[in-house]
C-alpha cells in the first residue's frame, strides 16, 4: 500500500528527512513516533503529496506521488498536523465539499456524513460554523473529512491531539475497526498511546528511521531483556537504531 524508497527532503540546507525507506501493507496500523522536529510531519506531508521528496520515491496504492499525485490523493485520507479547516464554513457544508471534491455523488455524500457523524459523534455540531467548534470537535471533523471517501490509505498526523481521554479511547476503538483492508500510518509523541493502537512501530530521529519493528516483537524483546518498551525505544533512539530495525 505504501512504499517509501530512499526518500530525502531538504528545505534549503536543512535535511528534514534523510534516506528513509519502509513499506506498509494493508491491515497494518503503524505508529509513527519521534520528538518534535524529527521529520514525522514532513514525511506525512510527502506521503499526502503536499510536499515532493527532494530525492527518492514514494508509492501509495501503486501510484507515484510525484507523477500520479491526483491518483494518490484519490486513495488517501489525510488529517494534517494543524488540522486547518475552512473556518467560515458550516460543518455539514464542509463535509459535503470534501465529499464532492473527492468525486462522491450527492446521495453517497449524505450517506457517508450520516455514518461518520454517528461514528465520531458530530450530530450536535453539524449546523455550526467550524470556527465555533472546540478543538476536540475540530479534530473529529478533520477525521470525518479524511474518511468521507472511505480511502484505502489513512495518514493521520497527531490524530488524538486535542481529544479528551474518553474521546481518545473511542478513537482507539474506531481506528481498530478501520484497520481491515487499510494501511494506516499515524504519528504521535506518546509511546503509551501508540502501543495501544499500533501493530507496528516506526521511530524517526533527526530525519532517519531508527526503529522499525512489529509491536508484538518489541514487546517480546523487551520481556526477554527485562526492559520496558519505553526503555527499548529510548535505547534504539540513542544508538541510532543499531540492531533494532525490522
Amino acid at each position: 500500500m505504501i512504499r517509501v524508497d530512499q526518500v530525502t527532503r531538504r528545505f534549503g540546507t536543512l535535511e528534514a528527512v534523510r534516506g528513509v525507506s519502509f513499506e506498509i501493507g494493508a491491515g497494518e496500523v503503524v505508529g509513527f513516533l519521534g520528538p518534535n522536529g524529527a521529520g514525522k510531519s514532513t514525511l506525512l506531508k510527502m506521503l499526502s503529496t503536499f510536499l515532493l521528496p527532494s530525492t527518492g520515491s514514494i508509492e501509495v496504492a501503486g501510484y507515484d506521488t510525484r507523477r500520479d499525485s491526483i491518483e494518490v490523493r484519490r486513495r488517501i485520507g489525510y488529517l494534517p498536523e494543524h488540522n486547518a479547516l475552512f473556518d467560515n464554513m458550516r460543518v455539514r457544508a464542509f463535509l459535503r465539499f470534501m465529499g464532492a471534491a473527492r468525486g462522491l455523488e450527492d446521495q453517497a455524500i449524505e450517506q457517508r456524513i450520516e455514518e461518520l457523524c454517528e461514528r465520531v459523534q458530530l450530530e450536535t455540531v453539524l449546523g455550526k460554523r467550524l470556527v465555533e467548534c472546540s478543538k476536540g470537535y475540530r479534530q473529529r471533523i478533520g477525521l470525518a473529512a479524511a474518511l468521507i471517501h472511505d480511502p484505502p490509505v489513512l495518514l493521520l498526523d497527531e490524530p488524538t491531539h486535542g481529544l479528551d481521554p474518553l474521546q481518545v479511547v473511542a478513537f482507539r476503538k474506531f481506528l481498530a475497526e478501520l484497520r481491515e483492508g487499510r494501511a494506516i500510518l499515524f504519528s504521535s509523541h506518546i509511546l503509551a498511546e501508540v502501543a495501544q493502537i499500533a501493530t507496528r512501530l516506526l521511530v524517526i530521529q533527526d530525519g532517519q528511521i531508527c526503529l522499525d519493528a512489529p509491536l508484538a516483537e518489541l514487546n517480546a524483546r523487551a520481556g526477554e531483556s527485562g526492559q520496558t518498551l519505553e526503555q527499548l525505544v529510548i535505547q534504539a533512539v540513542s544508538t541510532g537504531g543499531a540492531g533494532a530495525s525490522q
Binding site: S48, T49, R74, P80, A84, F86, A101, R102, G103
Partner: protein, 241 residues
C-alpha cells in the same frame, strides 16, 4: 469540470456566507452610482461615459480588496494543505477561485443596470455604446481579478497582497493615461505610446468605452488574464517543491 464546479461553489458560498460579497458589492455600487449621479445632475447628459471612466479605478480598488484573502488566507491558516491534497488539478482550483470572483464582478455590473433603465426612460442613450462599455468593464474586471489572485498567492499577509495588487492594477491603468504617455514620449520618442499600446489596460478598455469591440483588445485582455492565472498556478504548485 466537476472539480472546477466544486471549487467555484465553495468560494462563492464562502463569499456570500461570510457577508464579504454583500459588503463589497453594496460599497462598490454606492460609490460608482453615487459618482455617476453627481456627474449626471451636473451635465444632464444621457451618457454613461462618466460612469465607465470612474469604473476603472474603482475596479482596481474593489477587486484588489475582494481577491486579497483568496490565497493569502489559505497560506496563513494552512488550508492550502486541504487544496493541495484533494484530487484536484491546480488549474481547477485557480480557475474555480477566478470564476467565483468574476461572478461577483458580473453581479456588480448587473447591479448598475438601473442606470441604463433610468437613462432609457429619460431619452434615447446609445445602447450599443453602453453594451460595448459593459463588455470592456467585464474584461477589465477579469484582468484585475487575475492580478489580485496572483498577488494573493505571493504573501500570507492580506494587506501586502492588497498593496501589490493595487500597485499592479494602477500600473496597468496609469500606463495608458494621456499625461503619462506624453511625459514618457518626451523622454524617449515612442516610449509612452508603445507602453500604452502594449501594456495599458486603460488603452484597451477605452476602445470598448468608445464603442469599438476590438478583437485585438479582447485578445489582449484574455491573454494577459491567462498569463496572471498561469503565474498564480505556478506559484501555488511551487509550494510542493
Amino acid at each position: 469540470m466537476r472539480g472546477l464546479w466544486v471549487v467555484f461553489a465553495r468560494e462563492i458560498g464562502d463569499a456570500f456566507d461570510s457577508a464579504v460579497a454583500f459588503v463589497y458589492l453594496i460599497g462598490a455600487l454606492v460609490l460608482s452610482c453615487g459618482l455617476f449621479m453627481n456627474e449626471f445632475f451636473l451635465t444632464a447628459r444621457l451618457d454613461m461615459a462618466p460612469f465607465f471612466r470612474a469604473l476603472a479605478p474603482i475596479a482596481g480598488l474593489l477587486l484588489s480588496a475582494l481577491t486579497m484573502r483568496s490565497w493569502a488566507e489559505d497560506l496563513k491558516t494552512r488550508t492550502i494543505e486541504i487544496w493541495m491534497t484533494l484530487p484536484l488539478c491546480i488549474w481547477q482550483v485557480v480557475l474555480g477561485k477566478f470564476l467565483a470572483a468574476l461572478s461577483l464582478w458580473a453581479v456588480f455590473l448587473v447591479g448598475t443596470t438601473p442606470i441604463v433603465i433610468m437613462l432609457s426612460s429619460l431619452g434615447s442613450p446609445d445602447l450599443g455604446l453602453i453594451a460595448s462599455s459593459y463588455a470592456g468593464a467585464f474584461l477589465l474586471g477579469g484582468l484585475f481579478i487575475s492580478v489580485g489572485l496572483f498577488a494573493s498567492a505571493l504573501s500570507q499577509d492580506q494587506v501586502v497582497a492588497f498593496v501589490i495588487s493595487l500597485t499592479l492594477c494602477t500600473l496597468l491603468y496609469a500606463s495608458g493615461h494621456a499625461k503619462l504617455v506624453a511625459i514618457l514620449d518626451g523622454q524617449m520618442d515612442g516610449l509612452g505610446r508603445g507602453l500604452q499600446a502594449h501594456a495599458s489596460a486603460l488603452f484597451h478598455y477605452q476602445n470598448f468605452t468608445a464603442g469599438l469591440v476590438s478583437l485585438a483588445s479582447t485578445i489582449w485582455f484574455v491573454g494577459l488574464t491567462a498569463v496572471f492565472l498561469g503565474l498564480n498556478g505556478h506559484l501555488v504548485s511551487r509550494l510542493r517543491a
